[in-house]
């Protein structure tokens, strides 16, 4: 493998890994804020216990998201320095603004929330988790605005004197239609993840509490786990609907802005009018001639592309390759067809699992029912990983589908703003990048095991006894020493 391949593997591994934890952070922070708000408004200690329970799980997860996020901020310079030179004037701004306007808030106020349970007045303490919830979502916006500029560069022009892309309008960048669609899609994905997490964990506990296994928790099933399961399920259903709508918008934008990506996602080799949507194909997907579509559904693809059922002409990979070559010179402009095709289908298919679970769980808990069926408990556990995998599949699809571009040319923008991935990589020796890739992979693997073990340990323990009653706020000046809550 050469430096380019190793660097791409490193970026892929560290980024996909980072985005395992981040969606849970983005979605769970607002849900915890809602739980704490319900406790604040009703005084019902059940919601206090849920806040503490999911608060601890949130923090275990938050740590790994933050730790792996530093790598992201450094990696453009470390391994993609030529990319950084080309885009820095444009791409750096949202990253810096993310730090100033979002990450500062979230990191400072999470500390206040963790340690401030008894130190801060209750309303101020509640405000802290809301600041965190809003800031993590603002973070997502700035990062996705930066990423969307790589998919669809707007608000910039190429300066032939400096040889780089230069920002002409920050507003154009922040109102990029690709950014708005991708941001809302990613946030719905995050809410799907967190909703599934809350619903899955609480459904599992609801069944466990009601069984012979844990008779001491029996009393919690109805007042605590059932409403929390329902809350999670409603979030799942709402975000599933949001994902379909925003995904549809994104798809239509992609057909117009990055036709090669969508043609690859469909294994559409030749330009055709009203092609069918294939569910199953076989063949060595990087060779167009060998692909055979086995199961196909008519009308779907024209609708995905333009919102019409017939009369839509879609460009195939081969014709796009020829037109790119005549525009940008000889080179292979095809992404990895196998990965884009299957990642796209995995993303959609995996969404069905939490949605189905939510419908089933809502039906079984209707009218105050507490389900007893053991299979629901297994279904809940099986559902838990699916939104995480769907998020990863979606990002793998959209990022691998952009290849070989690292900045894809905008068909209606400045044609000089484009960068091939091979021109963006740092001039390191392959051996050095192999060493860093091996280091990251090993450390990340160990941390993932610990993360999973900790999450599992805290889920299985359930809400803890000493969290059942909120501690009274300390009167000011009562004690010269600070009482610690939630201490390390």
């Amino acid at each position: 493998m050469d430096t380019l391949d190793v660097s791409r593997w490193q970026f892929g591994i560290t980024t996909v890994y980072h985005f395992i934890f981040v969606p849970l952070t983005i979605g769970l922070a607002p849900l915890i804020a809602v739980m704490q708000t319900v406790w604040h408004l009703t005084g019902n200690a059940t919601w206090y216990r849920l806040t503490r329970f999911f608060g601890k799980l949130f923090l275990i997860n938050f740590a790994l998201g933050v730790a792996t996020g530093i790598v992201q901020e450094f990696q453009f310079g470390l391994n993609w320095s030529e990319y950084s030179r080309f885009v820095g004037d444009v791409f750096g701004a949202p990253l810096a603004i993310e730090g100033l306007a979002a990450f500062f808030f979230e990191s400072t106020f999470i500390g206040l929330w963790i340690f401030g349970w008894t130190t801060l007045p209750r309303l101020v303490h509640l405000g802290c988790i809301w600041v965190v919830a809003i800031a993590v979502n603002a973070s997502a916006f700035f990062i996705i605005a930066a990423n969307s500029w790589m998919q669809h560069p707007v608000g910039a022009r190429f300066n032939p004197h400096t040889g780089r892309a230069e920002l002409t309008s920050i507003m154009a960048m922040f109102t990029n239609n690709t950014a708005i669609a991708a941001f809302s899609h990613a946030v719905f994905g995050a809410f799907l993840t967190a909703g599934t997490f809350v619903a899955g964990v609480c459904a599992w506990w609801m069944l466990r509490a009601g069984s012979q296994e844990c008779p001491e928790h029996d009393a919690d099933a109805r007042p605590m786990y059932r409403p929390a399961t329902i809350l999670g399920c409603l979030v799942v259903l709402a975000s599933s609907a949001g994902l379909l709508l925003t995904g549809d918008t994104q798809g239509k934008l992609m057909f117009a802005q990055q036709p090669m990506k969508m043609a690859s996602a469909e294994s559409l080799c030749h330009t055709r009018t009203d092609p069918d949507f294939s569910i199953l194909t076989v063949g060595t997907h990087n060779n167009c001639d060998s692909v055979t579509h086995l199961i196909e559904v008519p009308y779907v693809l024209p609708f995905l592309a333009e919102g019409r059922f017939t009369g839509v002409r879609l460009d195939g990979v081969k014709d796009l390759q020829e037109s790119y070559q005549s525009k940008f010179g000889p080179r292979d402009y095809r992404p990895n067809l196998f990965v884009t095709y299957w990642a796209f289908r995995a993303m959609i298919g995996l969404l069905a699992v939490p949605a189905l679970f939510a419908v089933v769980a809502l039906w079984l808990t209707r009218g105050g029912r507490i389900p007893k069926a053991r299979w629901l408990s297994l279904f809940a556990l099986a559902t838990l990983p699916t939104p995480f995998l769907a998020n990863s599949a979606g990002w793998v699809f959209t990022e691998m589908g952009r290849q070989p571009w690292v900045v894809a040319p905008n068909p209606t923008g400045d044609q000089m703003i484009r960068l091939n991935v091979a021109d963006g990589v740092s001039h390191h020796s392959a051996a050095m990048v192999v060493a860093s890739l091996a280091t990251f992979t090993m450390i990340y693997a160990v941390l993932a095991v610990i993360w999973f073990w900790l999450i599992r340990r805290y889920v299985v323990e359930g809400p803890q006894e000493h969290d059942s009653e909120p501690a009274p706020p300390t009167p000011p000046g009562d004690d010269a020493l600070a009482p610690l809550s939630f201490a390390y």
């Binding site: 730790a67 530093i70 009482p483």
Partner: protein, 346 residues
């Protein structure tokens, strides 16, 4: 003052915030294993007390670095690209160690088990010692210059890293952060932990002062500016004041203000010596990256200036408020029992 100059000052301020705030976080992390070794009592409780002095604030402090890196990318893309790719291995070690520090601090109290805690303590120690040394080395290498070629590329060799000046820089930051951290613990605790913190600070006081004076003078000699000598003088005076206060075991607040000033003027000294270069080239001065040839367009710098003017003072206000909220001292004697779970479900 034009936009590139303003952004050079903002970059200096972001790194100043990072070194002043994370400086004591690193110091506390480095000293943590030594608490409870001398004083009577349960060493585990002493370590927890020391760690909890930075508990509510360390995460927010780290954002100064994240923002500095992002701002460097936005304001001086070539600086960011050359520095980060040129110093690949040192920055990689910093990254890995900071990953370990974050998860070790956050996860340490989650499981109530001595083996688990000592594993986390290894992560905290590695994640504090390595960045404390390496950041000093990185900035010393930057001030001395790197072999930047005509294409803005750097091929780093071992003698670039392990020569006397960068090593002295690394020793200086590590010693200064140890001292800064010890004074911070003295300021934030009572009882045996505070006694230990004073003890550590006293032991460190002479070597730290010598290192600051030596590194400061050498840095002054690298530059061509006479005013940097005044900065070095100020650092030494502030450092000596802190030393006197530490030996008299009074006025931790003032001592902390002094050590914070020492860190701050050290950053001013480094950036002042660098100006107007960003990465001086040791091969050919014409290949140096400067604030003029490595900066972004005036439009981008203007946008970024507005963002910095609005959000950076705001961040200082709410971070300052955090320090006020958690202003009370803590002690190993009055710390609640660990709230972590056992390793296995009982």
């Amino acid at each position: 003052m034009g936009l590139p100059e303003i952004w050079f000052v903002i970059m200096a301020m972001l790194f100043l915030g990072f070194f002043v705030l994370e400086g004591f976080d690193f110091g506390v992390g480095m000293l943590m294993p030594f608490f409870g070794r001398l004083a009577k009592g349960d060493p585990g409780q002493h370590r927890r007390a020391a760690l909890n002095t930075i508990g509510p604030v360390w995460d927010g402090n780290e954002v100064w670095l994240i923002t500095a890196a992002g701002a460097m990318f936005a304001a001086f893309p070539d600086w960011y690209a050359t520095l980060f790719s040129g110093l690949y291995l040192p920055l990689l070690v910093i990254l890995v160690s900071m990953i370990l520090r974050v998860v070790a601090i956050e996860w340490r109290g989650k499981i109530d088990d001595p083996k688990w805690r000592s594993l986390a303590d290894v992560g905290i120690a590695a994640g504090s010692w390595l960045p404390a040394i390496l950041w000093g080395m990185v900035f010393a290498m930057l001030v001395r210059g790197l072999p930047v070629d005509a294409d803005k590329q750097v091929q780093l060799s071992l003698p670039d890293v392990f020569s006397a000046y960068p090593v002295l820089g690394g020793l200086t930051t590590v010693a200064l952060f140890l001292f800064h951290g010890a004074v911070f613990v003295a300021l934030k605790t009572e009882g045996a932990v505070r006694d230990d913190a004073f003890r550590f600070a006293r032991w460190l006081s002479l070597p730290v002062t010598a290192l600051i004076a030596a590194f400061g003078l050498w840095t002054h000699l690298f530059g061509d500016k006479s005013w940097t000598l005044v900065v070095v003088g100020f650092a030494v005076v502030a450092q000596l004041t802190a030393v006197v206060l530490v030996w008299r075991r009074t006025g931790e607040g003032w001592a902390f203000a002094c050590t914070a000033s020492v860190v701050a003027v050290l950053v001013i000294l480094l950036f002042g010596s660098l100006y107007p270069d960003l990465v001086p080239s040791t091969l050919n001065p014409r290949w140096s990256l400067t604030i003029y040839n490595a900066s972004s367009t005036p439009y981008t710098l203007k946008i970024m200036t507005w963002a910095a003017l609005i959000f950076a003072p705001l961040a200082m206000v709410y971070q300052g408020w955090t320090y006020w909220v958690f202003r009370k001292r803590i002690s190993a004697e009055k710390i609640p029992a660990p709230a972590g779970l056992s390793r296995r479900l009982s």
